[in-house]
Subunit: 267 residues, 4 copies
């Protein structure tokens, strides 16, 4: 199988709600979900590896390598809260086929754990930085929006959005096959993919914390985003470099190619 | 499996004829088959999802997401008519491999339901809008054309056509492996892919209704096409945007790239 | 499975020799093997379809569609001859992965039939039309060339060839895994892929007929090649058009795109 | 399966250490591992073929074809040494998916043989030829570097490297899933991929021989590299040509294309 989920622990959860936040525009979903993992001290129980991620490893502060992966965490709900599963990670699939494969694998796994409701998080590029970004909602089925009406979500997405690309959209769209329902929360952001937008993430987190009945201290969000920023820029930079190198390896050499562009390649 | 067929109902059909009409040039096949589904009040019994469709979901009028899919409908034949299965949908495969995979999956499924005859519908780009578009026929086997001779189909396709690309051609070409026979009906159209051509679809429907022994009121065809048009343009537009975004994600950045082109990306 | 072999008959053969001749440079291998099929009145016993061929069907003289395929024929050897299996066809894989997949499927099938020796046929582009093209030999293993020394084959391939791309090379290279041995015969040809070269094919056939102990009347070779030529040009032309269309579908539209280039597209 | 490992012998090894050195920048890993295979007179016990290698065969000095492959050798450790497995070869995967597939297949195979420690070898492009290239280390896990501290490895890789592309990185990164630990040794080299760098390989070998407790005579390294050079240049040249040809086959012909560029194509 080209996508592997390695289970570290078999969590016993009661009607857990599944929340996904992976890299994407403004890293809105990723920032929000990662902050939730940290603030709720969620526990990692599984990792996902995929041949639809780039074929390199990262070297961070230490000399240990880091394979691109997605991670699953759980939190037992406190009084009045439900149990939660959080999915965060370094990368989405780099091709169309992988997006479907990963969605199927994850939804299948979540179904076995007992998930019936999912919330996916993302950003919506609107071309400018808004003072107070709105949170746009898209649902898995017609009628589901009623359940979420009281949380201040803007449900006029159809007018302006058109499509939701990647995991946030596909998880929601394919949920019905697995007997799940849910919502996608999109925070308005300026739209340049690699610039993390903590403001949009904060607005998404405000709505999400109301839905989950969770009290969140937002004061560390900017600091945490700042810490994340270097890592995000590094991955993004490496992703671009790796793609350039892959292409230069597979492309026939151009006439004026001197080889100097490839000096940073490692093999 | 990368292509999933989700069965909603197990229809009991007697020697059903299978009719396929998916998006393509002038959307001739799609318009014709979709109109037939509506006019005959056909009932949906299965949906097909594939990792060979684009990895985004659509947001339509409501805020509910819509995964790209193909759909299967059936109609019990009235007196003098055969039972029918109709396949319509949002998309064809985006790669060569997927075209074969989907053809095999569908033909295998149809064989299990008992299909022995198939009719595929499409457009034939001829470079100009004809007053009365002809309907060109291509068959699964030499000799099959005799069966359809009385319906006014032009069987000189070999001279002008050369190839039939995608589902309409492959379904027909691979039918023999599954013990099926059939015909492809191609309505002459100007040839610009995204402009729906109800006139060509009408000519195809005229021939098809004779073959099926079905009386069709064509008066709503233009109106229905008009309604469909916005949706088609939106999908087409999104498909282009999504492809552009995919490529800009995977391509190394150009030197003069400012990021502004990516403002509408959602993740 | 993405490559299907449909068996029409289970031939009972004694130690058959397998001969492959598919499209390639100068269509040398294809012309030679197809001529052998015709002259020896070989009988078709299996067809191979693959999702690694283009996703269109051809329309030839009749209005019946033709899916791209490879075909297997057999001939029972007359006195002093061995039984033979001949593989000919319309296309090779359009991607690297498919080349391996098809090689594995075919060699596996041939092993089950009892093949222990294979001969693959092809052209070798040398940049000019030679008066008497040489036949260059490449073998599956060091030492195998001894077996073929008496047939006037040039075994200095290593000096000038470097690589053999596609089926002719891979079948030979992977043969060892399946307990087979053999040779690749390459006829020197000018090198323009779509121009069929009957002269090079004749030289290959001369060597091949000696190896097989078969008497071949070459007088019809030019005429047969002439007949084949139109079909080859048509396929080649369609292949190019189809690829252009696939790319224009998947590429973002260029600013000056008017859609007129796509007029011949059929869907 | 698209990647096949053909076992020639079932070696009985005690806690073997796995060492990988495949083609890459400066061919540092390949030169080092191949030299080790030769100097230690290691015995080949398995071969790996993959549909993620190029679809051609090579013709070397003899007229026998050579399919691209990876090879596994073993050496029984002498007194004070551990048993070793060495993986060398002609090629790495040509796509991202294949890199994962091959890594999984190999690690799975190594696990069954009993491997718990792996060492991967590669080059690190630094833009200039250093007098005494450093050997940079990256580890499978935080803390593993302690085990290798005494061997003069530079563990500040994180600062300058960023990513390790391909087999050397992925084997190490995915090792944990298979219960293995290890290190990647990268020799500093100028960075032009096709120029073999015996100096960097020597520095890597010095560190490696200390880890393995093996005495190595380095005097033949330059000569051996020289011998290897022609072969490497030939493969590299062929790889480029084959890719060019593949692309020109699949690309629509350019208006000024005369076919002359394709003269060396063989099929």
């Amino acid at each position: 199988m080209a996508t592997k989920i390695i289970e570290l622990e078999k969590p016993k959860l009661k009607d857990p709600i599944f929340i996904e936040g992976l890299p994407g525009i403004g890293h809105v979903g990723r920032i929000a979900a990662t902050y939730l993992v940290e603030e709720l001290k969620a526990k990692k129980f599984a990792e996902l590896f995929s041949s639809h991620f780039m074929h390199y490893v990262l070297l961070q502060q230490s000399s240990a390598v880091h394979v691109l992966k997605n991670e699953f965490y759980y939190v037992k709900g406190k009084k009045g809260q439900r149990d939660m599963i959080l999915m965060i990670g370094d990368s989405q699939s780099i091709d169309s086929e992988g997006h479907y494969e990963i969605s199927y694998e994850v939804l299948d796994y979540m179904k076995r754990i007992g998930v019936k409701e999912i919330i996916t998080l993302g950003g919506l590029g609107v071309g400018e930085q808004k003072e107070t970004p709105k949170v746009i909602g898209a649902t898995s089925d017609v009628g589901v929006e009623k359940k979420y009406k009281k949380y201040g979500i803007n449900f006029n997405a159809g007018d302006k959005v058109g499509t939701i690309v990647g995991a946030s959209g596909l998880f929601l769209g394919l949920a019905k096959i697995y007997g799940m329902q849910g919502i996608c929360l999109l925070g308005e952001t300026s739209g340049y993919p690699i610039l993390p937008d903590p403001k949009a993430a904060e607005e998404v987190l405000k709505v999400l914390s109301k839905i989950l009945g969770v009290k969140l201290d937002m004061s560390k969000l900017k600091k945490r985003t700042k810490e994340m920023e270097d890592f995000i820029k590094k991955i993004d930079d490496m992703q671009r470099k790796a793609v350039t190198q892959m292409m230069s390896q597979q492309m026939p050499p151009k006439k004026d190619e001197t080889g100097k562009d490839q000096l940073s390649y490692i093999g």
